[in-house]
């Protein structure tokens, strides 16, 4: 069977430009008439994958993004996943809508369904209720909502969870910090971010129990300028020399690189995608998500008729080897492919929905071996970062010796572990 893939982007580009200029002209006319402007709506673009000899059954998947696909962060990562499945799966067509305001998701979802989408995937927490409502309006269609907790008979949920990788980052931080101070540039004080901060600090303190961490909150998911301000502040005012972050740009890594260039060793990480190019010297490792593998899994189940409204929470070890392996068809539960037998410089982490970015050769061999060992142990669920004894920053025991945090403990985490000097903002 020969296949021909056509990306109809040129047409859509034209449409887009016409639309924008049209919008401007309308704005100008409205201005001329003394009218009042309206906020920009989401921009929709369509990319179709067509095959000349089409199989009998096709599936059309619609993706709803909260941000622009050009954010090099959250929505960019999801769109990379969409492209991955669009490229790989011959029976699939995809459409997407970007910069969709969370309150206005119903419109784009209904439009996608009207245009023949079999499944709509909504990729922001704020789309939760609109997705459930859409499931009720379109009972014969399938919906998947990313990062939420509400499900119904045709609405499932999925998420890729990073805390284990933040723990591994922490191991690297503990190995590299000379000042004994590490920093964290955090978006918002919400459980997901707190969980990642805690995991990072727990990892650092496994290597160096004396390490102290301070956290700076941006109160924004995306603002490269403020991120720079926060990162510089941690380095200059608190002498932090390893910085982790939860924010949708590579700015923290760039700042670390800038200090490296000035001769001061400061280190940072990748977030969502491999960002090594932004800090070739300062980049230690980091967390990377391959939503494509998740989407391949979800869509394959839908195609096979085995989809159920389940919660797919992808961590390292959540079904590794059979569920998330790349490529899925080749995977078996027994043989674990891609296990790193050789270490320095040639590790291959690209076998999970979530995986580590390349490890910097500057990390001493002993700690590098520890990172890889913990990674392998997590795959087998032999090691779990949130295993007691764990105390909070005020010295209260939160997890008894040997006790593992449950899904709900992790999901609702609202306390900082020992070693963090910052209080959680109220």
């Amino acid at each position: 069977m020969t296949q021909k893939k056509t990306e109809e982007q040129n047409v859509s580009r034209r449409k887009f430009i016409t639309g924008t200029i049209g919008g401007l002209a309308v704005g100008a006319l409205a201005g001329y008439a003394g009218g009042i402007g309206t906020a920009p709506a989401g921009i929709t673009r369509e990319v179709t994958t067509t095959t000349t000899a089409a199989p009998a059954k096709r599936i059309k998947a619609g993706f709803i993004y909260v941000g622009p696909v050009g954010d090099f962060g959250w929505s960019y990562g999801h769109d990379r996943g969409r492209k991955y499945v669009a490229e790989k799966i011959p029976w699939l067509d995809t459409v997407y809508a970007e910069s969709v305001p969370e309150a206005e998701a119903a419109g784009p979802i209904d439009k996608m369904v009207a245009d023949g989408a079999d499944i709509v995937l909504t990729t922001s927490f704020g789309f939760m209720d609109p997705t459930i409502a859409a499931g009720e309006r379109h009972p014969d269609k399938t919906f998947m909502h990313c990062s939420g907790y509400k499900r119904s008979k045709n609405v499932g949920t999925y998420f890729a969870e990073f805390y284990q990788l933040y723990y591994l980052n922490g191991l690297a931080a503990g190995a590299m910090s000379k000042t004994g101070k590490i920093g964290y540039v955090a978006a918002h004080p919400i459980p997901e971010v707190i969980r990642h901060i805690n995991a990072f600090v727990l990892g650092a303190r496994e290597v160096n129990p004396k390490i102290e961490a301070s956290v700076v909150f941006l109160f924004s998911w995306f603002d490269p300028g403020k991120t720079r301000d926060a990162a510089v502040s941690l380095i200059e005012s608190n002498n932090a020399d390893v910085l982790a972050y939860t924010e949708d740009s590579p700015t923290t890594l760039q700042v670390a690189q800038e200090y490296q260039d000035k001769g001061k060793p400061v280190w940072s990480f990748s977030h969502y995608s491999d960002m090594t190019q932004y800090g070739p010297k300062a980049h230690l490792t980091g967390q990377v998500v391959e939503w494509g593998l998740m989407y391949e899994y979800i869509l394959s189940k839908l195609y096979a008729g085995t989809w159920r409204p389940e919660d797919s929470w992808a961590r390292i070890g959540d079904g590794t080897g059979y569920k998330w392996k790349l490529p899925e068809a080749k995977s078996t539960a027994e043989a674990v492919e891609g296990t790193f037998e050789t270490l320095p410089g040639q590790t291959d982490f690209y076998d999970n929905v979530v995986h580590l970015a390349p490890l910097n050769p500057a990390i001493p061999d002993q700690q590098r071996a520890l990172i890889v060992r913990r990674y392998e142990e997590m795959k087998e669920m032999l090691f779990e970062p949130f295993t007691g004894p764990i105390k909070d920053q005020d010295g209260n025991v939160k997890l008894q010796a040997g006790q593992r945090a449950t899904h709900d403990d992790l999901w609702g985490m609202d306390w900082f572990v020992e070693g963090i000097t910052t209080k959680i903002p109220k």
Binding site: G23, L24, G31, T227, E236, P250
Partner: protein, 312 residues
Amino acid sequence: MTAIDTAFAVSLLAHAIQAGTPLLLATVGEIYSERSGVLNLGLEGIMIMGALTAFLVSFRTGDIALAIVAAAIVGALLSLIHAFLSITLKANQIVSGLAISIFGLGVSGFLGRPLIGQIATKLQSTPIPLLQDIPVLGPILFSGDVLIYFSVIVSLVLWFVLFRTRFGLNIRSVGENPSMADSLGVNVDLTRYVCVLVGGALGGLGGAYLSIVYTPLWIEGMTAGRGWIAIALTIFAVWNPLGAILGAYLFGGVIALQFRLQAIGIGTETPQLLLMLPYFVTIGTLVLMSSATLRKRVGVPAALGNPYVRGE
């Protein structure tokens, strides 16, 4: 002051100036536009297009000077659309400005797609010989980059032009009472065009500062609302370029201070309070400016936002 306190203060102030520079460029530009009576709400779109242009040119050519000039030109061109709509066509300035902002954000996002994840040449700092060695002041004032020096010089020059020259008087009279200025032989439309274009060019430079100096990368929407902050700072500065220097550095300083306090663990339970400070001051200025006497005294452009139609 102990050595540590001094080091903290020096680092903080140098940081404040750098963080304030994109705001300063954009604010001084907006002051010129508004002083002539044209409210330019397109600043966010102009800044982001400036950021994109600078990054694109730097990425393609590696020529940082060309990148800066190109950003200023693109900023001026975008503001030319606004000028044409609001001055020549007498369109509603608010709507035209918002349309420019939306247009700039959309187009930059689209054109910038291939630049995501790319690295471009960035503007290096140029410490001034001798002056940079002055204790305390050297590292704060004379260790920056050319755009920092330029932004201060241009603010001083534009202050001088606005308040000490014939042309500046024309600008202010056009923004204050265009029919009077017209009757005195001032070319209202031309004056406004010049001011809006100058404002756009400076807004483009403000954006360029972000993408080739402060956070040298391209990401869609990377100005993150700084255009709107600059519009607020215009009020804070009571339409005076010297006030803009104060306002922009204060704003940059408060952000830097707030993060530094968080970093060393002071006030970490309520870091939002300090962040609100500049906005409180802006609201306070607005309240003060509602007094007619005060408005007259500082010379708030009375015709701001009104298209000028001869004979009306």
